[in-house]
Symmetry: C2
Subunit: 324 residues, 2 copies
């Protein structure tokens, strides 16, 4: 059987995660990594090519996995790559998904490619759960909790506080709030009741720790609406205990059927590495994209349009016999 030939655009944490994931999927092979950096400055297990030359690889790559960021990379790379290749990406600016979908769709549709956008876990597997849960239990309430996990945005915000040398922020779902939803109480939860924020901060020598803590916990948008705990630690401790990128969360749905029967559905992730997990999801969707393309389909899709059977290397017969 011919392997599915994969390319990676962007070689940060996500791109490296894809490289690892491909090794766990014997029906795929990684062909090349494409970068905007100088290719000789990047070390990978496959050839590293300048993104300027990507067009020459149209016949050598079945699916291109876009591993750039949603703020500035994907709005440009998504449509540009969908013109040349079948693509999968993890565009995660929720509010801009509709317009991004249209732009990618235009290029994919017009050039005979298939594109799955906004996959990963949120958007992605969490979105699938939200859809499934409300379709099955239309009279009910949905709740999404994130964490325990590192928020890059909040960690960056801490590091911008005067007197802070380094820092990491964890988002933590409130155990009490989760239990209330699981018990079918259908609570109305404020922002403060849903999540806590815990910060591990390395201060510069001689900095005013009280002042740093006050600045963090009162920071508008980031911390003011939450209960926030600030822990001061040293650089060694930060490196030793807080250099991983764990994350995860829960989608919960509490609904009612019949004459007031409570039904609770739950999907949860506990991830040792957020980017490695996200890339594993992208790789599974690359398999689906390849199959759709081989059937002659074209245009943009989301996780909502892809049957799960296309994600597995197993045949439909095998799936029915082994997993149903």
């Amino acid at each position: 059987m011919q392997k599915i030939r994969i390319g990676i655009v962007g070689y940060g944490n996500l791109g490296k995660g894809v490289e690892y994931s491909i090794r766990q999927n014997p029906d795929m092979e990684l062909v090349a990594v494409f970068t905007r950096r100088s290719p000789e400055s990047v070390q990978a297990s496959v050839p590293v090519i300048s993104l300027d030359e990507v067009e020459q690889y149209q016949d050598r790559i079945d699916v291109m996995l876009l591993c750039g960021g949603s703020a500035t990379d994907l709005p440009i790379q998504g449509p540009a790559m969908a013109k040349l290749f079948n693509i999968v990406d993890s565009f995660d600016t929720h509010a801009r998904i509709p317009e991004y979908f249209e732009e990618v769709n235009q290029q994919a549709e017009g050039n005979g490619h298939v594109a799955v956008i906004s996959t990963g876990w949120d958007p992605g597997l969490f979105s699938l759960s939200r859809l499934l849960f409300e379709a099955v239990l239309p009279e009910g309430n949905a709740y999404t909790f994130w964490g325990k996990g590192v928020s890059q945005g909040h960690s960056d915000a801490i590091r911008r506080v005067p007197g802070v040398k380094n820092g990491v922020q964890y988002t933590i779902p409130s155990t009490e709030a989760v239990e209330r939803v699981r018990n079918g109480e259908n609570p109305e939860l404020t922002t403060r009741e849903k999540h806590l924020r815990e910060c591990f901060v390395v201060a510069e020598e001689g900095a005013d720790l009280k002042e740093i803590e006050k600045t963090i916990v009162n920071m508008p948008n980031y911390f003011a609406d939450y209960d926030t705990v600030v822990n001061f630690i040293n650089e060694e401790e930060l490196k030793a205990n807080h250099s991983g990128i764990p994350h995860g969360g829960l989608v919960l749905h509490s609904g009612v059927t019949g004459e007031g029967t409570t039904q609770v559905m739950e999907f949860g992730l506990n991830l040792g590495s957020n980017p490695e997990f996200t890339s594993s999801v992208l790789v599974a969707y690359a398999r689906a994209v390849h199959r759709l393309s081989q059937r002659g389909e074209r245009g943009a899709r989301t996780v909502f349009d892809i049957p799960f059977g296309l994600l597995s290397p197993k045949s439909a017969e095998q799936l029915r016999a082994e997993l149903l």
Copy 2:
């Protein structure tokens, strides 16, 4: 908009659950209930028709929901109804699914109908989770836990024990086993380690309770391989506290990415009523069946073949904007 016209074959707990569920879905209407019993002996909110006359309803029903049992009803009704209608069923004899699929497919394909078989939660939503989890984390272990919930088969087995007047059996997942999986330990679990069985038994007057307990806990296939607790209660207590049909369970998958990073995925259900929840799943899949049929598709499908987008009454645009 024209409503999706639904029929029910079989009016037990599952059929009644469908009747309730349709009321929560304004894009559907229940047309009739079909029964093998004498129609005048059955009370429903819609006309009750003898199953012998079902053929006359081909133009009046878009999707027929088969609510009979897997042991004797569905093996006959599945293919027979797929000849006449688009159908959805919950055939749950795992080992016989492949042959059942072929039989239904032959009738559906040959007569221009769409059939989704073996939906509900297991098989159904649990199967989807098993597939998704192993597709995303191919290097990992899957675990399915059932309960806490009533097992009809085990409850029946108790009631056949001499001296037993009535009884209910609960299957309960071991908290310790679940926690070990959640912690990424990848344990090898024996049958005894995964689930406990708890029985509530009403004994006949003068019966030997010690003897009943001994017979239950040593019963081969049903209880011998498990730790089983037997509680004797009176008939009033059984009615008051054990007449619901709760169930649920967990699908857990513990996998590894990158260089040994642990990733845990989980799907869980906590159901106040097993049949009411199962019927809510059937109804969501009826919507998908109707849409596939309107596109001109034909043949048998499983949950693995149906994109989640088809389960929701919302348009693709709405789903992308609201739920992705």
